[in-house]
């Protein structure tokens, strides 16, 4: 394994409050790694430490096997960052945004011009090259930010909630592009709170909350371990069902007017619940990453 990112016991405190509280993980070359967590979990803070913007309070952090504190310029030259908020330059056109950004990386002019056209084409932006950034829709602006993050031909792409606030069409289009990049062997670190996105794109992920890692694994393994293969949602569950579940030691979450039952692939119990306890108030479905996420991070509202 050739590690691109190695983090060990990384801590960041703001005025005594921990935003990132001792997390450790590593990302191998070519991996598509997910950093999942609710708002305020510490995703952006972790990412900012990775590209040398925020100095860590303590812990080890190596990127491309080098220290960010001493080799920051060398490391940053090989990273592309897609910020959570729109950091496009509103004073510049779409194309100028890419070219000026290439300048910050000291990419030779001719190379930058060629790459800018390639990227505009790849993200279906060629027709908007001379548009002002302010005129773009949310989905287009995201694509420009992504194109800009790739202008230096990075070895590591960092995406902070790249699809938050986008409509489904834009989101799916972006996912397709990210899948193409993944297939090309690019190492990607993605933060998101869309489970569908993580499930579709990530080989491996960690779920963090309150600055701590709750679980780590592939989406498939996490579903298996924390959600079960099958889930039954029961509206208005009766006492008989609760007794049955307790007696059979089947894990469930009681949400008051709704019950979530986590089942294994075993058909027998599912059939019994269906025939004996359900009538018309049950939904049978597969376990999703969203179930894992909600079970681990809780259901109460954030912020």
């Amino acid at each position: 394994m050739d590690p691109i990112i190695e983090i060990h016991n990384l801590i960041k405190t703001f005025n005594g409050v921990s935003a990132v509280d001792g997390i450790s993980f590593s990302v191998a070359k070519g991996a598509f790694f997910g950093l999942l967590g609710p708002n305020g979990a510490g995703k952006t803070t972790t990412i900012r430490m990775l590209y040398g913007f925020t100095p860590p309070s303590s812990g080890e952090l190596r990127v491309f096997r080098r220290e960010i504190t001493s080799d920051w310029r060398w490391i940053k030259a090989k990273i592309g960052v897609c910020h959570q908020e729109n950091t496009l330059d509103p004073d510049l056109t779409v194309r100028q945004n890419l070219l000026v950004y290439a300048g910050y990386f000291a990419v030779p002019k001719a190379v930058a011009r060629r790459r800018a056209e390639e990227l505009l084409d790849f993200f279906a932006l060629s027709h908007r090259g001379d548009a002002k950034v302010m005129e773009l829709s949310g989905g287009m602006a995201r694509r420009v930010i992504l194109a800009r993050a790739l202008i230096n031909d990075p070895d590591l792409l960092i995406l902070d909630e790249p699809t938050t606030g986008l409509d489904p069409q834009s989101r799916h289009q972006l996912w397709e592009r990210l899948e193409t990049l993944k297939a090309s062997g690019l190492t990607v670190l993605l933060t998101t709170h869309y489970m569908e996105e993580a499930e579709r794109l990530c080989d491996r992920l960690v779920i963090i909350d309150h600055g701590k890692i709750l679980v780590e694994g592939s989406p498939q393994a996490l579903k298996q371990r924390h959600a079960g293969d099958r889930i039954v949602e029961v509206a208005g569950p009766g006492a008989a069902l609760l007794d049955f579940l307790a007696a059979s030691q089947i894990p469930y979450d009681d949400l008051g007017e709704r019950l979530l039952i986590y089942l294994t692939a075993e058909q027998e119990i599912e059939e019994r619940i269906r025939s004996e306890f359900c009538m018309d108030r049950c939904t049978f479905r597969s376990g999703t990453l969203e179930d894992v996420f909600l079970r681990l991070t809780g259901r109460e509202l954030r912020e």
């Binding site: 703001f14 900012r48 590209y51 913007f53 925020t54 100095p55 920051w72 310029r73 060398w74 940053k76 030259a77 990273i79 960052v81 910020h83 908020e85 729109n86 950091t87 496009l88 330059d89 509103p90 004073d91 510049l92 100028q96 000026v100 950004y101 300048g103 910050y104 990386f105 000291a106 800009r148 230096n152």
Partner: protein, 261 residues
């Protein structure tokens, strides 16, 4: 906190970014330095000079318009540089998140700050150049020594740009720039020997005027425009770089504290 080893010529990349956006609006940017000296010279030359005869300054007699012409250029340098690193930099830093974008590339915070200050000085020098052409064509500038104003405008621009950047590093919201403008820029504009010689001030007030960087820029400009001054040239030539050094370091320290989270 300031990392001097993180400072390289790469800051010119950020400077270039500002040049590119400036070129898009350069025609508008040139109107002010083109017309401002004309307004002042007309107003003071036509409306004022009847009330004021000659101004006794540094051992020579100057008409009032001759007296204020160099000060107009110096004030423009101050305003251009100071407004650039206050309002304009604040918008780039806070509202446009331009610095956040740049700081994800191999450019250091120090380089971004230096680029902003050098850019402010460049813009101020561009304005000074146009004003020099306008005022020169009216005969208010002795040539060729009047051309020395341009490198001095750059030095002054760096000094006022650094001061502005320092305020950007400590100001909580953009409307609070009113405060340094009211307490720092306006008194300087009025009392730096711009519209009347500092020697006309009561003795107790004169040291304050001598502490103003604008006063030294005005003195240097007048030296090369009309060949007279009241402050020895070497003092002004020493004062401005020292002011730049002090506020340059303060600006770097405060801006870093603000940007690095």
């Amino acid at each position: 906190m300031i990392r001097f080893d993180a400072i390289s010529w790469r800051f010119l990349r950020v400077w270039r970014r500002n040049l590119i956006t400036y070129r898009r609006i350069w025609k508008v940017s040139f109107i002010t330095p083109l017309l401002e000296p004309l307004f002042f010279i007309t107003a003071f030359g036509l409306g004022f000079s009847g009330m004021i005869g000659a101004v006794a300054y540094g051992g020579v007699q100057l008409t009032y318009t001759e007296y204020i012409a160099p000060a107009l250029i110096a004030s423009a340098v101050m305003n251009n540089a100071f407004f650039e690193t206050t309002y304009a930099s604040f918008v780039r830093m806070y509202y446009q998140k331009t610095f956040d974008g740049i700081l994800a590339t191999p450019i250091s915070t120090e380089e971004v700050i230096i680029a902003e200050i050098v850019w402010a000085a460049s813009k101020a020098t561009a304005a000074a150049t146009i004003m020099l052409l306008v005022l020169g064509s009216f005969g208010f500038v002795t040539l060729p020594q009047g051309l020395l104003i341009l490198p001095l405008a750059f030095l002054g621009g760096l000094a006022f740009g650094a001061a502005g950047m320092f305020f950007t590093g400590i100001i909580p919201t953009i409307d609070m720039f009113n405060l340094p403008i009211f307490l720092f820029i306006t008194p300087m504009f009025l009392f730096s020997g711009t519209f009347f010689p500092v020697s006309n001030l009561p003795a107790w007030a004169q040291p304050f005027a001598l502490a103003f960087p604008l006063h030294h820029l005005v003195e240097l400009f007048r030296t090369y425009c009309v060949g007279a001054n009241e402050t020895p040239t070497w003092i002004s030539l020493l004062y401005l770089p020292l002011f730049l050094l002090l506020f340059g370091l303060l600006a770097l320290a405060m801006m870093k504290r603000r940007l690095i989270r």
